[in-house]
């Protein structure tokens, strides 16, 4: 449980962080809450040579409403998202989902940026952001770019971020007044989702139903054409490719996706 040797560098500004990343290329990794990166390093599944600690970057810890856009700093912790008044009012799904991630310790360290960049197919916030039509903002030596959530998750643990880019912000249209619900299916309270379903209005995001978070598009289309919830939810597993594991087979996951989608849509409509 001791990681391989690495160098530690503390970034005091975003510019410093970017300079460090530019200098070390893919030998470096930004460190946010460390709750995905450090376990991997301790198990020696990851061995970056340089860690660039983003902890001092308070400038990336915020939630604010900017016109019709909710803007969230990449370093905002799950716990802070969960308790944030602005988020609760204008993107309540995201605030709720943040409170369902892991346990108290995880929520007090883990950040939304870390969760999104880590791109675990079982991550909760990623699917929720996808359901809310979110956008990710990256900054690098070539400037700033916006990447829609639909284009951000390329595969398990794979995103279009370059090694010298930082995720700085997450944006999503305000969801004020839209129905929402989150169904997270776990064995124990602290577990990752076996399957999760995030509903935002008529949008449905799926957790752990493929190598990336994805939208239940067949369900969404059915809803758009006026199908009742029960019927639309039956289509929730279409186009998914969940992993087959001894404790949760692919067939079981598809079944769960249908049941949970129905429940989430019912709850969101209520």
């Amino acid at each position: 449980m001791i990681p391989a040797q690495f160098r530690y560098q503390r970034a005091n500004t975003v510019e410093e962080a970017l300079a460090a990343l530019a200098e070390h290329g893919d030998e470096a990794k930004p460190l946010a809450g460390g709750h995905s990166l450090l376990p991997l390093m301790k198990l020696r599944l990851a061995a970056p040579e340089v860690l660039v600690d983003l902890a001092p970057l308070d400038e990336l810890r915020f939630v604010r409403l900017d016109g019709d856009t909710v803007r969230i700093g990449a370093l905002t912790r799950h716990h802070d998202l969960h308790g944030d008044g602005v988020l609760r009012e204008h993107a309540p799904l995201l605030a709720h989902v943040a409170g369902e991630v892991g346990d108290q310790q995880v929520r007090h360290r883990g950040t939304i940026g870390g969760s999104l960049v880590h791109a675990d197919p079982a991550a909760d916030l990623a699917a929720a952001l996808l359901a809310c039509d979110g956008t990710l903002v990256a900054r690098g030596p070539r400037g700033e770019r916006e990447i829609p959530a639909t284009e951000f998750f390329l595969g398990p643990f794979t995103t279009p971020l370059e090694p010298d880019e930082l995720l700085t912000e997450v944006r999503l249209p305000r969801q004020t007044g839209r129905g929402w619900a989150f169904e997270k299916f776990t064995r124990r309270a602290i577990d990752w989702a076996i399957v999760g379903v995030a509903v935002c209005g008529q949008s449905v995001g799926l957790v752990n139903m493929a190598g990336t978070p994805l939208r239940a598009s067949a369900t969404e289309r059915a809803l758009a054409s006026g199908a009742p919830i029960a019927e639309a939810a039956e289509l929730a597993a279409e186009g998914t490719s969940p992993v087959d594991e001894p404790h949760a087979t692919a067939e079981y996951r598809r079944h769960l996706a249908r049941v949970l989608t129905a429940r989430a849509l019912e709850a969101a409509a209520a």
Binding site: I2, R44, R187, R188, D191, P246, L260
Partner: protein, 751 residues
């Protein structure tokens, strides 16, 4: 008023909670100055020939002091049942996690880097990764043994045993492998002294047994080994005595000429510490349609893991096969097989939970088959109070029991009939969330090892007390219980009583804490010693009070002796008596070996809700009655029950240590191995009953494992009961959502 039977906050807790204990890893002992750090290179494959081990690169790594392999070790191999177990794998590895090499470094952080550089070539062999694969005997773990079956008992069955039965049900029930996962992983610190004695600070449940094992392993006399047990963060049976690692470390400390420190990692612990349970049990139960069971047969197959060191487990299961029932005919057999998996050893209950799980599932299967309520079928077959002492067909001699009363109390407190009505209502209405009620009536055996226990009591010159016990408490709160017993006997307040244990130089004889034995035997030993000391003090007090010994009494409210009938006249306190006593006169050291096994019993009702659409089970209630005789400290007693209920429910619902067909563990981190937490448990509803035993000086039975034993089948039965109307008659533990969902689907298809 006596302190015994009152809720006393455990004296152990203040430090453990506020400051933290001092575990092996925390020790800052002079003798450990300059210690090197140790880690084991462990096999990543289940079964393979080792074709070469190259340590040269590792030896060059920063801080490396030594790297040892089997070729270096000049000790006779250890023994695991009928086979030899090398200290480090010698030519063959037989499970993932088996130690292959030992690395010593100057600093702890250097260990992992150096260990990665030990280059071992494995030539894979076919893995025997399940009981069925073992029984097939196609690949043998130990070719010299000629079979993977390491032990066989019983099995000469009467082919007519079930002839007079109207109904016979049979089922094979898996009692899955689980990991003990104590909060404190294994650890040891070792130093050879100038006097050529080895001191081992060890996380163990019994230092005296550890001393024997380590001395034997190192081929030295026991007088050359001293074991010191600091605080121990849980053992659950897996820290009984010593594992092979401390022997290797003791050898290495000598070879390297340096003290050695070792603490395994959490991931290492999950595959390298022994596992528990791992039985496959076939039950056959037959009887009449009125609910009377006439014959029961239990065929046990114990997966012993790669090195079959604990083959008493299946025979203990056989001993307890018929549980709380008076069955005319009981037949048992057992086989212990080796597989390419982590060795199996004791785990909370060790052999008895498996017996209870088998018979309690069998009773439910039988009840379902004849269409009677499981509570009623149990009641029909209970051993009645007037039948005690009761000799079971399998050879156990039960002391005392009130089995029917226990069940009735639980049914009443739980509102069993109302719950059944609610269950019927939900089924009628076709509600997707089904209600399940599970019962378990159990009896278990504590202090069943046949060993005695040591106890010593000293009155100190200042009138305080010091007691020494051969028990080795590690979280149970036994120290507080012994202090309460002594305070009651001597009239000395708790603050002036000290209980010491765990250093073999201080307590040279002892058996330890396992098998729920420590109060009934350790407590009886201390009680016996105290009685002798008090009688000697009586003589002294009589002299001082110028009365005959028969005329002086000990006022245990004040801790003072006075002449009978004259409490307000002259008194003599403990310090006064101590001042008059000769050297050692107020000290007594006893070996208590009159205690014979006792048989705690109880009944549990579990209530679950099962979401039949997803298969998810939520444990709503546990109503438990655990009768272990008179209770010394209700707080500690309930604590043992809470832990036991949680651990037992965990086996029913969550925990399983799994392997794929190549023998790779698939639940080797705590992210995958699902232990239970408070969130998954209801508030426990505890009922009290105390039926004393006649079999020891205190009249007490053990409570350490009882609740674990009852709760597993209660929760398991509840899950099956919830699904009964859907046609499910059995599913194996743990009742994970996937399994439940599949069982519902299978039943639907079969319909």
């Amino acid at each position: 008023m006596s302190i015994v039977g009152t809720r006393v906050v455990r004296v152990e807790d203040g430090t453990l909670i506020t400051k933290g204990g001092t575990y092996v890893e925390d020790l800052r002992h002079e003798a450990l100055t300059g210690a090197v750090h140790a880690t084991f290179v462990r096999s990543p494959v289940a079964h393979a020939r080792i074709t070469s081990i190259d340590t040269s690169e590792a030896l060059q790594a920063p801080g490396v002091v030594a790297v040892y392999t089997a070729a270096d070790i000049d000790l006779a191999p250890g023994q695991a049942g009928p086979v030899a177990q090398p200290w480090l794998a010698d030519g063959v590895v037989r499970y993932v996690g088996e130690p292959v090499a030992l690395v010593l470094t100057e600093q702890r952080y250097q260990l992992a880097d150096a260990a990665e550089l030990v280059d071992v070539d494995y030539d894979p062999l076919e893995a025997v990764a399940s009981i069925d694969a073992a029984l097939a005997d196609e690949t043998l773990l130990f070719p010299d043994l000629g079979s993977n079956v390491a032990q066989v008992t019983g099995g000469e069955f009467d082919e007519h045993a079930f002839d007079d039965c109207e109904v016979v049900v049979t089922e094979t029930i898996v009692n899955q492998r689980v990991a003990p996962a104590p909060l404190e992983v294994r650890g040891a610190a070792l130093a050879w002294g100038e006097d050529d004695r080895l001191t081992v600070w060890l996380s163990t449940q019994n230092p005296q047994l550890a001393r024997t094992i380590i001395a034997l392993g190192l081929g030295v006399g026991e007088e050359r080994i001293r074991i010191v047990t600091p605080d121990v963060g849980g053992g659950f049976g897996a820290k009984i005595g010593s594992d092979p690692e401390p022997v290797v470390l003791g050898w290495a400390a000598r070879r390297a000429g340096r003290p050695v420190r070792w603490t395994e990692t959490r991931s290492e612990n999950l595959t390298a510490m022994t596992h528990g349970r791992a039985q496959q049990n076939t039950v056959t139960i037959g009887g009449r349609r009125d609910g009377t069971v006439l014959a029961f047969r239990l065929e046990v197959v114990q997966d012993a893991g790669a090195y079959p060191r604990t083959l008493f487990l299946p025979t203990l299961t056989e001993l307890m096969a018929s549980g709380v029932y008076h069955f005319p005919r009981v037949e048992t057999s057992s086989k212990g097989v080796v597989t390419n998996t982590t060795p199996i050893s004791a785990y909370r209950g060790a052999g008895r939970p498996e017996a209870t799980a088998a018979i309690e599932r069998a009773m439910d299967l039988f009840a379902a088959e004849i269409g009677r309520d499981p509570a009623e079928v149990r009641r029909t077959n209970f051993i009645r109070p007037e039948e005690f002492p009761y000799q079971t067909p399998t050879g156990a001699s039960y002391d005392t029991g009130e089995y029917a009363a226990a069940l009735d109390r639980v049914l009443e407190a739980g509102g069993y009939h109302q719950l059944r009505a609610e269950q019927a209502r939900r089924r009628e209405a076709g509600e997707p969330v089904a209600l399940g009620l599970g019962l378990a009536a159990y009896v278990e055996i504590t202090g069943g090892d046949g060993g005695g226990e040591s106890g010593r009591v000293d009155v100190n010159p200042d009138g305080s007390l010091t007691a020494y016990t051969g028990a080795s408490p590690h979280g149970q709160g036994l120290g507080t219980s012994l202090m309460m017993l002594l305070s009651d006997q001597f009239g000395i307040p708790l603050e002036r009583i000290t209980v010491r244990h765990g250093d073999t130089d201080e307590v040279p004889t002892g058996v330890g804490t396992f098998g729920s034995r420590s109060l009934q035997l350790g407590g009886s030993a201390v009680r016996r010693a105290a009685e002798t000391v008090i009688e000697r003090a009586r003589a002294l007090a009589a002299e001082m009070l110028e009365a005959s010994p028969d005329d002086v009494v000990l006022d245990t409210d004040r801790g003072a002796w006075h002449v009978r009938g004259a409490p307000s006249s002259a008194t003599v306190g403990w310090a006064d008596v101590a001042a008059r006593a000769g050297d050692g006169e107020l000290s007594e050291d006893v070996w208590y070996d009159e205690g014979t096994p006792t048989f705690p019993f109880g009944a549990h009702l579990a209530v679950v809700e099962v979401d039949t659409l997803t298969g998810k089970v939520v444990l709503r209630r546990i109503v438990a009655l655990d009768d272990a005789g008179p209770v010394v400290n209700p707080l500690a007693f309930e604590g043992q029950r809470h832990g036991g209920l949680g651990q037992g429910a965990a086996q029913a619902l969550l925990e399983v240590m799994s392997y794929d067909s190549d023998g790779n563990p698939t639940t080797a981190t705590l992210a995958d191995y699902s232990f239970i937490s408070a969130t998954e448990l209801p508030d426990f509803e505890l009922l009290h009953m105390a039926t004393p035993t006649t079999r020891n000086a205190l009249g007490v039975k053990g409570i350490g494992e009882a609740a674990t034993i009852g709760s597993t089948p209660a929760v398991h039965n509840a899950v099956v009961d919830a699904l009964a109307h859907l046609g499910v008659r059995h599913l194996d533990m743990p009742a994970t959502p996937l399994r439940v969902w599949q069982a519902i689907n299978d039943a639907r298809k079969a319909d």
